[in-house]
């Protein structure tokens, strides 16, 4: 299905941006594959335990109620993307996007088994032979094993990875675990092995709207047309000025190294993922020709027009200020987060009960979630009506570390204080730490006067 698009054979090129991109690939993939194996206090350091509905992040345990933190984190991530796009163009696409990073890894395996660009092109055109079969089979072997390991690692973020590994060895893996592992593995195989740049061109929403974040001061990778044209081949001994030529020798290297198969010399194109391979390619040629580097380079539209580039511009200040505010909000709210949650559920079956001596009684269930890792004792109190009392609650309730405790209780008040619907407040306080308090409103219902 994918073959209807002509396969692009990016040529391998060394250079400073190639080293940067390899560093990014190794770091990011390294993190992905290593992080689930790290331990923190004898449990997995990063584990999104979906069955238990708890996320472990190093020393932090997050509960479904902490979802706003995740939302805030996602907003911060999106805003950082805007910030870096406005500043330096498609840095994300070229160096950090999983699509790019995994494609790099897959192309590396392709090079290892099938050879250089020209060897790969020749191999694909050649009729089937034992050598071709051997090369293709070894490539597929590498790709498939790598994909399966990727799927396994992915699932390892949601299921304790060490136990999962043992389960796999014992051929005793749960159906859904197996399914998601295969799903992610297959997605990696298809996206990084076959679809590659097509994903960026046709399926990526960011690639389409990133131009909205660009202005004339954004770093772009561009060919210096004024310097390069008219392009043409020449001997190294020929002075291009005498021959009436620009600095571009039309060697096509920048096109051959491009992973999306475009010609950077045609100007800024939305297919360009800013991987900077063409800069490395062109610089290597400029060095050979003894011309100054930078015929293809990181530049801005303003600087190409011989105008000043403004890095510090209003847009950058707005993005930076927003980012700072949001990060500060996230850090403060995390730091001041009370590790206990209180839910109050009013008994739905009865509005109220009348007891002797003009006492009105309502029934509630408190749900106390202790988010810290250690067991804690709490004192439960109620307020809001004169002379209101609790019944059926011990002096202290003990909740296990990471545990949930339901406390059924009765609240009583004198009839003359409890007509109609009153607001009451339950609050709990940890016995060992007076700063761990949580209050929750509810209603107390009494007879009509």
């Amino acid at each position: 299905m994918y073959e209807s698009a002509k396969k692009i054979y990016p040529r391998e090129i060394g250079g400073r941006f190639d080293r940067l991109s390899k560093l990014a690939t190794v770091t990011l993939l390294g993190l992905f594959y290593v992080v689930p194996w790290l331990l923190w206090d004898e449990r997995q350091a990063v584990l999104f335990d979906l069955p238990a509905r708890k996320f472990y992040l190093l020393g932090l345990t997050l509960w479904p109620q902490d979802f706003p933190y995740l939302a805030l984190l996602l907003i911060i991530a999106a805003l950082s993307l805007f910030f870096f796009t406005a500043l330096a163009g498609r840095l994300w696409c070229g160096f950090a996007c999983p699509q790019t990073v995994w494609t790099e890894a897959f192309i590396w395996m392709e090079q290892l088994t099938e050879g250089t660009r020209s060897q790969r092109m020749k191999l694909d055109k050649a009729p089937w032979s034992l050598t071709k079969l051997r090369k293709k089979v070894s490539k597929q072997f590498l790709w498939i094993s790598f994909s399966m390991w990727t799927g396994f690692t992915f699932v390892g973020y949601f299921t304790p990875i060490r136990e999962l590994g043992l389960d796999i060895v014992a051929l005793n893996v749960g159906g859904w675990t197996l399914f998601w592992g295969m799903f992610y593995g297959f997605a990696t195989y298809g996206n990084a092995g076959y679809m590659r740049e097509q994903v960026c061109k046709y399926m990526c929403p960011y690639a389409r709207f990133q131009s909205a974040m660009f202005d004339k001061d954004t770093l772009i990778i561009s060919y210096d047309e004024k310097r390069g044209e008219p392009r043409g081949g020449r001997k190294r001994s020929v002075d291009p000025r005498d021959a009436g030529l620009g600095d571009c020798i039309d060697c096509q290297l920048c096109v051959q190294v491009c992973p999306t198969g475009i010609d950077i010399r045609e100007g800024l194109q939305y297919e360009c993922i800013a991987c900077a391979a063409c800069i490395d390619a062109c610089d290597s040629i400029m060095d050979k020709m003894n011309y100054p580097r930078g015929l293809v380079r990181y530049t801005t539209e303003h600087s190409l027009q011989n105008e000043t580039t403004h890095v510090l511009r209003p847009r950058m200040f707005v993005y930076a200020a927003l980012l700072l505010v949001l990060c500060a909000a996230l850090v403060t709210s995390m730091a001041t987060r009370t590790p206990v949650i209180l839910d109050v559920i009013r008994d739905r079956n009865a509005l109220y009960r009348e007891l002797p001596d003009n006492v009105i009684e309502n029934i509630y269930t408190l749900k106390i979630i202790n988010q810290s890792d250690d067991a804690r004792a709490f004192v439960v109190r109620v307020s809001g009506i004169d002379g209101i009392t609790l019944d059926g609650v011990p002096d202290q309730v003990r909740v296990d570390g990471g545990g949930v405790l339901s406390v059924p209780l009765r609240v009583r008040a004198q009839r003359e204080n409890a007509y109609g619907v009153r607001k009451i407040v339950f609050d709990i306080e940890a016995v060992d730490d007076a700063s761990v308090v949580m209050a929750e409103d509810s209603r107390f219902i009494g007879p009509t006067p």
Binding site: F67, L70, G174, W176, W180, K201, Y202, Q252, G261
Partner: protein, 97 residues
């Protein structure tokens, strides 16, 4: 020339673009939807509301929820893509005005 070699053949067909884009975008939307939904609701408690006998695991609940959102988003996104692409073209006379 190499760039010419790629040219013309490097495009996906319109249909293929539509199918893959719809699948991918609805996948992303479903992922967000699933995250928000299950942050609020526990699938095991939910299944208990409908039928006390019905016992599903968390895994199955999350998967069912995710695929429900994916199919829903894919239908929405697919029908929109279809309607946009098959909308009657404005006729030539109208366009000249």
């Amino acid at each position: 020339m190499i760039s010419e070699e790629y040219r013309g053949a490097k495009q996906w067909s319109r249909n293929k673009q539509a199918v893959f884009t719809v699948a991918w975008i609805s996948f992303l939307s479903a992922a967000i939807g699933t995250m928000v939904f299950f942050a609020i609701f526990d699938p095991v408690e939910l299944s208990g509301l409908f039928d006390e006998e019905l016992e599903i695991s968390h895994d199955a609940g999350y998967a069912a929820g995710f695929f429900f959102f994916w199919v829903l988003c894919a239908i929405c996104s697919g029908v929109t893509a279809f309607l946009v692409r098959t909308a009657p073209k404005r006729d030539a006379k109208h366009r000249q005005q």
